[in-house]
Symmetry: C2
Subunit: 184 residues, 2 copies
Amino acid sequence: MSNPNLLAAFLETAWQHLGRGVMDSRSPARYPTFATVSAKGMPEARTVALRRATRTGAFVDVHTDILTPKVEALKATPHAALHIWLPEAKLQIRMTTSVEIVTGDAVADDWARIPNASRVSYGTHPLPGLPIVDMYDYEKPPLRERFAVLRCWIDQIDLVELADRHRRAEFHRSDEWKGSWRAP
Amino acid sequence: MSNPNLLAAFLETAWQHLGRGVMDSRSPARYPTFATVSAKGMPEARTVALRRATRTGAFVDVHTDILTPKVEALKATPHAALHIWLPEAKLQIRMTTSVEIVTGDAVADDWARIPNASRVSYGTHPLPGLPIVDMYDYEKPPLRERFAVLRCWIDQIDLVELADRHRRAEFHRSDEWKGSWRAP
């Protein structure tokens, strides 16, 4: 028979890694790959930094410049897949999420906590991805009005651990994270 | 003025990392994140192993069990975004690709080169992702007929280097990989 404690412990391990990712910029959980679907229906992926991971409510936060292609993609398809690979733990954490784009007064506290040196990530001119003549033909002024929090409400967590024997489990918000083992 | 040699050198660096990823399982370029769009239009991402990287022709190969969700996704949308983050080089390599699913006699040579111990990745029973009662309720027989090569023809390569000053460039098959600098 399946032991529910083992499933709960597996999920707990994942949340511990997410928490460490938020606190420690050297943790591999700090930098998930953030996959979206473009307005044209094409897959896109880029590195993001994990800024918050809250088990109560089950969401993670990512910060972004609102004028980047990932926000355009999220306006068309408000979902993101977050992917983390932890080499030492041999653990893959995948989250399927519904993304809320939060701006304005609601993110004033988040903005206030960002060090000045990091605020330059929000305001690149020309816009990120636009062609420039020489490699350093850009400026990075900090622009409060271009800052947004992507609140990623987790719908599903999929864990795969590549230990001597592989194990895999899926956890869903819809069944209150009870989870089930899956063929790996 | 833009120096075309610097652009060419930047792209060359990326291909060197891809080549190392194929040869060395300890290289972070060995394990790209492979993002697709599901048949329902949702983003999906998982770790894959880089098996070939060929600059002539500009493609990379990934191996898969044909009965996994990523192949289902590719049948609906035959495109994948491959994402690699190289922590030491502080380099993000992103590839936008058109994916050809190769099976049968055309992959006989690839199958022949796979060590017996690795062939068990192709044939999991029950199918990967299906629910099982206990965590080890699965078998992994090697099944030649479930092996496929995902040939990812690169349409675009996007490089972002987070050195003291950031630099970013995009290279397209359509302009013969000449490339252009982009705002990072």
